[in-house]
Symmetry: C2
């Protein structure tokens, strides 16, 4: 799928570059949109908390007025609970799909959730995710937004996402129509997988989002913060970029970095740095 056109003139090489809002966490939606426009960044991945600060309709207008396109909405998910928790999560994910439709996001990224507190039933948690995704697919179809299943690095299996590999995400996605359920390929989460290139090829048109960031060692005390700027860590990006391209993906490439040092820096400088590294490291031959 080609990115729908925005009117921001992209800086050379940045035609498919998208800033995921998490990378410039201190910016409000409007600040992030204005920062992108200043930097010649044509697309943005939005986060619900920042969208909700202004409301989805106003957010859509801010983005459209600046001539940006939206590459994704982050995020839904957390679907491993039972009973009331499950019902609340399903309702919240339906609202998230509605918000995604309103802001013009082609997909809603799903972090599916870890083991419920005190539970060791990993198989059961995975079954509940599958069942919830089946249940949400109809609403996704109604509003024209794709559910994007994000396999997370296995170190988050217990507390964040029981979807741990691209192959596992595809096993679930393939049970439902392609336009309703796709997958996220995030370099941080999949780079270690001996099977990653084969699974990316298998994914083909199921790829709903391609996210880049690097894997740092030593991991910080809060392992959620171990995501680095491309080039600062261990990942060899070009082979993954080429595999995703060979699978047919022509959409935006989001830079999504959770890192306290990055968050403490000036957001304009962060955006300039990640854009430069995207050109030098991700797009390298």
């Amino acid at each position: 799928m080609s990115p729908p056109g925005g009117s921001v003139e992209a800086a050379p090489g940045l035609e498919r570059f998208s800033l995921n809002q998490a990378t410039t966490k201190s910016w409000t939606l409007r600040e992030a949109v204005e920062g992108c426009a200043r930097a010649g960044v044509p697309a943005i991945g939005l986060w619900r908390d920042r969208v909700q600060e202004v409301g989805a309709e106003a957010a859509a207008k801010v983005v459209a007025d600046a001539g940006l396109r939206v590459s994704s909405l982050c995020r839904g998910g957390f679907l491993t609970g039972t009973g009331d928790e499950r019902r609340a999560a399903l309702a919240d994910n339906r609202r998230a799909l509605d918000e995604a439709a309103t802001v013009g996001a082609p997909c809603l990224v799903l972090v599916v959730g870890g083991l419920p507190a005190g539970s060791r039933d990993l198989a059961g948690a995975r079954e509940r995710v599958a069942s919830a995704v089946h249940e949400l697919a109809e609403h996704a179809a109604q509003v024209g937004v794709r559910l994007a299943l994000e396999p997370l690095h296995p170190m988050y299996c217990a507390d964040r996402a029981v979807l741990s590999t691209l192959g596992q995400a595809l096993d679930l996605a393939e049970q439902l129509p392609q336009e309703q359920v796709g997958v996220v390929v995030d370099t941080f989460h999949v780079w270690w997988d001996p099977d990653v290139e084969a699974q990316v090829a298998r994914a083909g048109a199921r790829i709903a989002s391609f996210q880049v960031c690097d894997f740092l060692t030593p991991l910080p005390a809060d392992v959620l913060m171990g995501r680095g700027v491309m080039g600062d860590g261990h990942i060899d990006f070009p082979p993954l970029r080429r595999a995703v391209a060979a699978a047919g993906y022509q959409g935006d490439v989001e830079v999504e970095i959770f890192n306290t040092d990055v968050w403490a820096a000036d957001p304009d400088e962060v955006l300039a740095l990640v854009a430069r590294r995207y050109l030098e490291v991700v797009l390298a031959d």
Copy 2:
């Protein structure tokens, strides 16, 4: 393979229980052996540093005199370097195989190594591991000790082991005779893998060692220390224990825990605790 007999009378239920020395890190070899004998623990997994303090022949005598059997020697590996580093690593692994033979260990556990400093060539590192294992297999055959490939949790892929899944370890092991190269199933490293039960079944007689310890969250600042006493974390042990048994493994079950709190406690109490948890948690129906 049935454990070769030692003459320590195992406490009820501990017939196949083995203390991996890393769990009681402050104990010398002799202290660990005496601790096992006191606790009715019939087997021990030795570490090279503690063996080398007394020499392999003396170590063998200490263990034999106490009536214990050796379940494994930890560890060889670190085979991803090039040039002189590679030659030195191969020589050191041959010495480790000799030591394993001398102490009566049926297998040498291999932590294969991460990316060399500054390298992002994961495929190349994996190829060098495969080539080194092929090279070491002959020596393993000569001394009658099995190389036990240990896939490590993917969070260690960059800096410790580029073997990340049981399936990947088996792809390599299966290129060589079963008596020369097997695999380690360590619950901490494999519990998250959606494919783990199928790969354990595939492993069958390739299983050279079964190690148990739990996965804790939040992970500590040094992620190597995130290994917990069985029952303290997120792993459901009985399904994994049953899968390993169904695959035909009848050898020892090693408890191997890297954890600064465990290391700070009295080793006799640690051994009593892990033995009790083995009975209550690992052997639970």
